[in-house]
């Protein structure tokens, strides 16, 4: 696909501003009614989904050319997709998020990249991770763990830790706990160690389309060699990449987020949570596990008009509007923990506010990433919760860094940590 293929989507925007707000039906207060971090931080219309559709059309029509302001418009956005959910409440025939992504692809293909992203892309090419770390250290998080190394053995399930869990010191223990929890529950599971590669999802969202293919090819080849049928990951971004993007380019495995697996094992009685965790927590839905975590549906179709002028797809095009994301599993897990109280924020599930770390924002615009996280922390604190919990290391790290830098008074937990505390 190319931006040109989305010309009608750009033309069809009715400029209604729904993309700036959470679905109106869910608005409970003025304070937490907004959906789009980019619009709230940058303010000009061009930084909304609707604005970006018009900028896309302007580019297609040759009304504007490339400059730094345009790059800012294109990249100062986490690509979290809240705008797309709100837009599709009424206009589910516009693929706004796809248009935004195509704009990034186009700029990258035309050499109009952000210099802040370059070191990360170079490191990915060289070291196959997004953490600016040597590739040879990738498997060190699991040093000493009694778990199958699938470079040498076979297993039905691979545990893909992802770049952040593999390298971030504070998070490595969480990955260790997760894989051991599954192994102890009887899952035939292993890890790839040094042979694990970046999923490629993050750079894909930055506009680097080709890199996804390389990562997918490498990961799926080693999985296939190890007899893997199911991929389990604790990272929401990896989950999205494996669940939605890999099948789109022809690589299909069963993909499960760790929290889904734990939920299943609790239900089956294979994980028993017995110890009390006396905490009041609120759960943050990661964009890539929630609204963007819907399964890929294979589809090919053509457009035709019915009833004179209604353009429709034949056969029906799958609709990705956040309805089928992973929302209940993490909540079920939290509710299974004795002594723990779950309180909800105003913006949850498909209309959750983004943590701020996605889409290349953390790397290119760290102040914006921190501002976005601070907004979420304010919402979490408004519930009276003592802690914010998530199921994505990128969310957690961005929250934790913001808590530290802004001297916030709230704890940040990975859901795996809480489960471990309750075992």
């Amino acid at each position: 696909m190319a931006l040109e293929d989305y010309r009608d989507d750009c033309t069809n925007c009715s400029r209604c501003s729904y993309c700036k707000w959470i679905p109106f039906d869910h608005i409970k207060s003025a304070r937490f009614a907004r959906a789009c971090p980019s619009m709230e931080y940058c303010n000009f219309q061009a930084y909304s989904l609707g604005g970006r559709l018009s900028v896309g059309l302007s580019l297609l029509e040759g009304r504007i050319g490339y400059n730094d302001e345009l790059k800012d418009i294109v990249w100062k956005c986490q690509m979290g997709g809240a705008c797309d959910v709100s837009d599709k409440i009424c206009r589910y025939n516009i693929e706004g998020l796809e248009v935004m992504r195509e704009m990034r692809f186009k700029l990258v293909e035309d050499g109009q990249t952000l210099p802040q992203h370059k070191p990360y892309i170079d490191n990915l090419h060289k070291e196959e991770n997004m953490m600016m770390e040597p590739g040879v250290n990738r498997g060190k998080w699991a040093d000493g763990l009694d778990v199958k190394n699938l470079a040498e053995e076979k297993a039905a399930v691979v545990f893909h830790a992802g770049c952040r869990y593999s390298y971030a010191e504070g998070l490595q223990k969480t990955a260790r706990m997760a894989v051991m929890m599954l192994r102890d529950a009887g899952v035939d599971i292993g890890i790839m160690g040094e042979n694990e590669s970046c999923c490629g999802g993050r750079v894909y969202q930055w506009g680097y389309r080709k890199e996804l293919n390389g990562c997918a090819r490498k990961n799926t080849r080693v999985w296939a060699d190890a007899g893997v049928k199911t991929v389990v990951t604790p990272c929401a971004e990896c989950y999205y990449t494996f669940k939605r993007l890999y099948p789109e380019i022809g690589f299909t495995f069963e993909v499960i987020h760790v929290v889904e697996y734990i939920n299943r094992l609790i239900k089956e009685g294979k994980i028993k949570l017995t110890r009390s965790v006396p905490l009041t927590v609120t759960y943050h839905d990661p964009c890539h596990l929630g609204r963007l975590g819907e399964p890929y549906v294979p589809w090919q179709g053509t457009r035709e008009k019915i009833y004179g002028q209604i353009p429709v797809w034949k056969p029906s095009k799958p609709r990705y509007n956040g309805a089928w994301g992973v929302y209940d599993a993490p909540r079920n897990v939290l509710k299974s923990i004795p002594g723990l109280a779950l309180v909800e924020m105003e913006r949850i599930r498909e209309y959750a506010w983004c943590c701020g770390a996605g889409g290349g924002v953390l790397e290119a615009y760290p102040d914006f990433a921190a501002w976005t996280a601070a907004e979420r922390l304010a919402e979490a604190k408004a519930t009276g919760a003592e802690a914010i919990v998530s199921a994505c290391p990128w969310c957690e790290r961005n929250f934790a860094d913001t808590v530290k830098s802004q001297d916030e008074k709230i704890e940040v937990y990975d859901i795996i940590d809480l489960v471990q505390m309750a075992l």
Partner: protein, 541 residues
């Protein structure tokens, strides 16, 4: 024509460098507008590009901007949420004021039932906040995304609850207005320091002057605050929301009812309009579901309830026997929400409604009585947060006729609206969804039971032939209206945006007194012609 550097720096000094831009991409995001394609050369989606966009954060900044514009003779166009091409520059050489930073609800006076708001306080947010105090506001017919201030000061602002909560223009209790000459005028009782309780004073009223014939729509200064009257809300402090996106629904308590009322003929339907108003029941009364066409709309509302389906599946739904029966059952219908202030009150209203239906031969459409359908209707109608479904078919629509008056008056033009539309639908130039695709208020308080019907025509905004047909259809409707001594409806307002000065003058000359007085007002308040033709004036001869 770029702004002079002196002018740009002067404006930048007011708002700060983070809140002004003249970048082409940013400017095109302001120029892009719905309906532009009906009036711009080559059906462009872009209105004239502004010279700069500014985001003021206070009345003081707005006043300083307007004064600077007077100094440098720069035209200025404010908008709040920016939906509609009226909000964009109509010519070159204009700066756009985007009011989104002024989004506060400044005060909610629970006892006296009013709220003081800024331009970007949208209806959905205001409603959410006042519900916590047992109050509600008029959500303008365009929906929860729209500015309440704009509906009250710059348009007529009616909505589905106008039978109970009144129209926004009636609910205006005073405004803070940065006039085009840079002075600030506080209208109504706030103008004499007595608080926001009355638009007519003590203090300068100005209500008719600032609104003019149709609302100045950003053409005559900038409104920076206003107070609006609120109404009782005997419901929960927030909507309990259930259901899967997008078909959210709200199970409200037993003092809420949502009905779709249908009738065997149009005379009976309009008789029910009269009786509802005369008997003073109803919290929401509006013709809403038929906006998507009496033939196709029911199938759409059915498929919308199924989150696995989309518009691509509508043909499948049309073929279902259940949908066929549903379509026929609600062919001539409107929506009514009853809200009881007490259990006795809801029982009373239900009894009155039963009597009205008995006497008019009407009925409650069965499908809409099913609990989940009723819950969907309650949330949709009371929050009006899915109003952009207007665009779901094609991305483009225009609403013709929409003359407001008594049911007897509206009854007369209804068949004209259908006849003027049928040919365009049958030829496939507009969506063939049924020649009755009419929406509109039932029994607004204003005018003692005003109602109206707005005939929707859906054109494919990405299709040049269909877009051209929509323009032709609007012209055709104006001709038909003229032949029957009916003034042009909203289509006249749409097309006016694209008319030459001479063409517009011919139109305005048909109401010479109004537009001559508007000229005199403009001359007095806007000596440097900062505004645009959204506040239309008749030239001096």
């Amino acid at each position: 024509m770029a702004l002079s550097r002196d002018a740009y720096r002067a404006l930048e000094d007011i708002v700060g460098p983070g809140y002004i831009s003249e970048d082409p991409a940013v400017m095109d995001s302001y120029a892009y507008q719905w309906l532009a394609e009906t009036v711009r050369p080559n059906q462009s989606k872009f209105m004239p590009r502004p010279e700069a966009a500014l985001l003021p954060g206070s009345t003081k900044e707005v006043q300083a901007i307007v004064r600077t514009c007077n100094k440098y003779k720069i035209k200025v166009k404010p908008y709040s949420t920016g939906w509609y091409f009226y909000g964009a520059p109509l010519t070159e050489g204009v700066i756009q004021l985007d009011m989104r930073r002024m989004d506060r609800i400044l005060e909610i006076d629970e006892k006296n039932m009013f709220a003081v708001i800024e331009p970007y306080a949208i209806a959905g947010v205001l409603q959410a906040e006042v519900m916590k105090r047992g109050l509600n506001c008029t959500v303008t017919g365009a929906g929860a995304s729209c500015s309440t201030l704009v509906g009250a000061t710059c348009y007529h602002g009616s909505g589905g609850t106008s039978i109970y909560t009144g129209e926004l223009r009636e609910n205006l209790l005073g405004a803070e207005w940065v006039m085009p000459n840079g002075e600030i005028l506080r209208t109504g009782s706030i103008g004499s320091g007595c608080g926001w309780f009355c638009a007519e004073g003590p203090g300068p009223s100005m209500r008719g002057i600032v609104r003019g014939a149709l609302g100045a729509r950003g053409g005559l200064g900038v409104y920076t605050k206003c107070a609006v009257k609120l109404s009782p809300w005997p419901g929960p402090v927030e909507f309990p929301v259930e259901g899967t996106a997008p078909a959210y629904r709200s199970p409200l308590p037993g003092n809420f009812r949502a009905y779709t009322l249908a009738f065997k003929d149009w005379d009976s339907l309009f008789e029910a309009y009269y009786r509802l108003y005369d008997n003073e029941i109803g919290y929401y009364a509006h013709r809403q579901w038929t906006m998507l066409g009496a033939d196709l709309g029911p199938a759409f509302w059915m498929l919308y309830q199924d989150p696995t389906k989309s518009l691509d599946d509508i043909e499948e739904f049309v073929q279902k026997q259940e949908v066929k029966e549903f379509t026929e059952e609600m062919r001539r219908s409107f929506q009514l929400v009853l809200v009881g202030m007490s259990q006795r009150d809801i029982e009373y209203q239900d009894k009155v409604l039963e009597r009205i239906l008995e006497e008019t031969g009407g009925w409650k459409v069965k499908k809409w009585l099913e609990p989940e359908m009723e819950q969907f209707a309650l949330l949709y109608l009371l929050r009006l947060g899915k109003k952009n479904l207007n665009f779901v078919y094609t991305g483009g629509w225009v609403g013709n006729f929409m003359q407001v008056g008594t049911p007897d008056f509206v009854k007369k033009y209804r068949p004209l609206a259908e006849d003027a539309t049928r040919e365009y639908q049958e030829k496939g130039l507009l969506v063939d969804c049924g020649s009755d695709s009419m929406m509109g208020c039932v029994g607004s308080i204003s005018g003692g039971g005003n109602c109206g019907l707005e005939q929707f025509g859906f054109y494919d905004v990405a299709d040049k032939v269909s877009t051209a047909a929509a323009v032709e259809w609007m012209k055709h409707c104006i001709q038909e209206e003229a032949m029957h001594n009916i003034p042009p409806g909203k289509e006249g307002m749409y097309l006016a945006v694209g008319k030459t000065h001479e063409e517009l003058q011919q139109d305005l000359a048909k109401q010479p007194a109004t537009h001559t007085w508007q000229r005199k007002i403009k001359q007095a308040l806007d000596p440097n012609d900062l505004g645009d033709r959204m506040y239309p004036t008749l030239d001096e001869r």
